[in-house]
């Protein structure tokens, strides 16, 4: 009886992935305690989010990939409709229209699209598995660019770019020609000035201050200056947990959300940072391993895209905190405070686990 229960609980769970994820999230809670100024309520709130997200992960892991394929286009269409809804009736907060009120809940459709886009594209290429042509890629590109454009318009440049990246990974893994990639790169470079002129002032400012944060030390450069000071002053071993001066004397802004990595780097130093990077690389490696061994085009592309997107999130966040990328609102995956991103992330890992475990079952 107990055996059956254990089997029921664990048969679709990837033990290795769960272990590394748990370790990372645990580390996240430790840092969060310091980043919130020892606010246990916040930490417990995050624990609740993690438990909810883990449950969703478990449920998704138990869902066979074939079933997921059925959700692909309805999810995508629903997401698209919601994005249009946001554009028309969305709620403005901090100068951006990102939220939509549905009855009692307030949802952010762009979060849904983080999963829906790779799901849709993977499904599309699965259907075109035999004999992919350039036109197929063109259709896929349109399916990708429509939601990206809608999100960029909100404006939420960070999320738009990351969703674009997740879609691009599907295209890339599906075998889009190198020449196409090259010509697209050239085209992008040519269109960059156009894109620049279409950007909002604050978006332009963020990119400008990236190159010289000291130009606006009290304005948009302040975040980067303070986070690099936090990291740099952490040194090799860090100032010790709860002893980061930048953190605890309020110099670091957004320190329990987007800039929590600076807290981590300040208090745990380069050794701590190396450890965290190792955890992220282990997760990415495991994800790529699962993708490499997936049996169908759909599962391969989906697993590959989810894994690479996860790596991208980590890279972009650490890059912006350490001052080599512009400040785009991207949380540090599995560590930053916030339930939504936690759920989205673990939902993705649920898909990965489903891909990993159902492959075995199909074989047997």
């Amino acid at each position: 009886m107990i055996r059956r229960i254990v089997l029921f609980l664990t048969q679709h769970v990837d033990g290795f992935l769960l272990a590394v994820l748990s370790l990372t999230m645990l580390l996240g809670l430790v840092v969060l305690y310091s980043a919130t100024g020892e606010d246990m309520d916040r930490v417990l709130g995050q624990v609740v989010s993690i438990v909810v997200a883990l449950s969703i992960m478990w449920a998704v892991a138990n869902l066979p990939p074939q079933h997921m394929m059925r959700f692909a286009w309805p999810t995508y269409v629903l997401g698209l409709l919601l994005l249009v809804g946001v554009a028309l009736f969305g709620e403005v907060s901090h100068g951006a229209r990102r939220w939509l009120h549905i009855g009692v809940a307030r949802i952010q459709p762009s979060e849904l699209m983080k999963i829906a886009v790779p799901l849709m594209l993977a499904w599309y290429f699965e259907k075109r598995e035999r004999g992919m042509r350039l036109s197929d890629f063109a259709v896929a590109a349109v399916m990708l660019l429509v939601p990206v454009a809608l999100i960029a318009k909100q404006p939420d440049l960070g999320t738009a770019l990351l969703i674009a990246a997740s879609g691009f990974y599907v295209l890339f893994l599906a075998g889009i020609g190198w020449r196409v990639i090259l010509s697209l790169t050239v085209l992008a470079a040519a269109l960059a000035p156009v894109a620049w002129s279409l950007m909002h002032d604050y978006q332009q400012q963020r990119i400008l201050t990236l190159f010289d944060p000291t130009q606006d030390p009290l304005g948009s450069g302040y975040h980067t200056i303070q986070s690099t000071i936090a990291l740099g002053s952490g040194g090799l071993f860090g100032k010790g947990w709860l002893h980061g001066t930048q953190t605890h004397l309020d110099f670091l802004p957004e320190r329990h959300t987007d800039f929590i990595f600076a807290v981590f780097g300040e208090e745990f130093g380069l050794f701590g940072v190396l450890g965290l990077m190792l955890l992220y690389l282990l997760i990415v490696a495991r994800g790529l391993y699962i993708a490499a061994n997936a049996t169908t085009m759909f599962t391969r592309l989906l697993a590959g895209s989810i894994t690479l997107t996860f790596g991208t999130y980590a890279f972009v966040n650490m890059g912006m905190v350490s001052g080599i990328l512009p400040v785009v609102g991207v949380p540090l995956p599995l560590i930053s405070f916030g339930g939504t991103s936690m759920v989205t992330l673990l939902l993705g890992f649920g898909i990965l686990m489903s891909v990993a475990t159902h492959r075995r079952l199909v074989k047997s």
Binding site: T228, T245, D250, L270, G304, G311, I324
Partner: protein, 633 residues
Amino acid sequence: MTRGTELRNHQRDLYYFRVRLTVAGSVALSLFLVLLARFIYLQIIQHDHYQTLAEQNRISIVPIAPNRGLILDRNGVALAHNFTAFTLELTPSKLPHLEQTIDQLSTLIEITPKDRKRFKKLMEESHNFESLPIRTRLNDVEIARFAANRYRFPGVEIKARLFRHYPQGEITSHVVGYIGRINDADLERLDASGDLANYRGSDFIGRTGLEQSYEKALHGTAGFEEVETDASGRAVRTLSRTPPVSGDNLTLHLDLKLQQVAEKAFGNFRGALVAIDPKTGGVLAFVSKPGFDTNLFVDGIDSQNWDMLNNSPDKPLVNRAIHGQYPPGSTFKPFMALAGLELKKRAPDYAIYDPGYYSLPGSSHRYRDWKAGGHGYVDLHKSLVVSCDTYYYGLAVELGIDNIFNFISHFGFGKKTGIDIDGESTGVLPSVEWKMKRFKQKWYTGDTVSVGIGQGYDLATPLQLAVATATLADNGTQMRPHLVGQIQDAKTGVITPIPPEAVSTLPVKPENLAMVRSAMIDVMRPGGTAAHAGMGAPYAIAGKTGTAQVVGMKRGEKYVASQVEERHRDHALFIAYAPADDPKIAVAVLVENGGHGGSTAAPIARAVFDYYLLGKLPAGPVTTPAAEAAEHD
């Protein structure tokens, strides 16, 4: 399609997929390596730099201003001290809507238009990030009212500050001087002298008087507090503290009671008095009337009071005792007499006949004696007792200007005395060279005539007269006049007396000095020009009266005091020392437009002597300004 090709296709797809996956994985890995390089750069290579930045973020050095040293009279009575008061202070850089904030504040705490004006002036003179007082001396109710509303006013604070107070007010205004807020010019000066760091926490600096000349000793050494602050600048905790070292206390030679006696003796007259201990050069009293309330200047004087002081015809801001230059008149005669004796141009028993005027040989121009018809036969003794002008006209011409200049300059005329406050005038002891330089003209014998009676080009400050008198009293040894007697180190309590300093010693024959002294004693006795003032003194006074013309009289015109406009009347002068046989105090008195020296200036000196030598207070109560100030408060 066969199943085999399909399988091969599948294998080929998987192969391509894995190639792509490897490419993507490699890109991801290399991006992570880029991050790693960045972290190594930040956390190892640039660690020291960022460490410093983090410390600078976190630690701010807060200077602690030292307590300013006290200024005390010889008996330890405070002439300048400090008191703590609560001030309402604004930091303009933190207040974008300054006017609005002040308006809101004025609903809680009374802020008068005067306060606003003064604050505006302060703002112009200081830096924006400084915290500046808009109201001082808040009472308990006001403090409580603000404390309850504090949250509404970021950038507004109540601070406990030390304030300078001058309890004696006007009486000591020209000795003690005052402090004022440090302005940009001061900062530049402090920067140039390397003292800026020591003044980082200080708001005030000495402007005039002793406050200015002893600034270095009075200021003390600033302390520092290392404070950990958060991003909003709030102090979280103190890391270390170096306490400030208070400024040194100054004890003066000056006797406040004596000063009050002198002040009162002036009545409503303007003028100056300097009393010196001839043996040490210590200044016992230092009066310049009128004075002014130095307390008005401490926190920035308002324009109304400033205009009143600055435009007053009485010129209360001028330190007459050291800055005012007056013809010494007949008070110059004892020095001339000594010169005549020492240079052997006059023997004590040699007498001239005074017909009431003097004419240069071969000239018909008459230099008139003050007494029409003259004094008859006059020897040296009588020349001083009755203050005969004719005697000195002739003597001056016989001595010649060079001899007069060389001898009399030993008494300190024509140069600064070197007293320990700023603002001294040099006065004029004329010489051939001086006239050439000043007027580009050669010296005429006629110029020498009036020099003999302290008129013409002769000019002296009351302090110079006092120093010359003290030199005469001390047998020709000139001591540097000094206000401060000792300096007490506030930290160790060690008292360092300032040793008396002889400037020059003139070898004069004792019998010549005795000759002049006996004549000066008789000035104070019946038949002398100051007989009234010397009447009934139980000690011997050696004195000399003087009168200095303010407006020249036309030939043949008679000077009648009552017919002359008050401010055109003669200045009255008097110099004296006592007791004549063992001088303990030498004094010079100038009464502006006071008329004759014997009747207005000499009684003031007598009052000073009586108090200093006998402890006798003049009739009538001496109201101290301190008592008056207390009533005002």
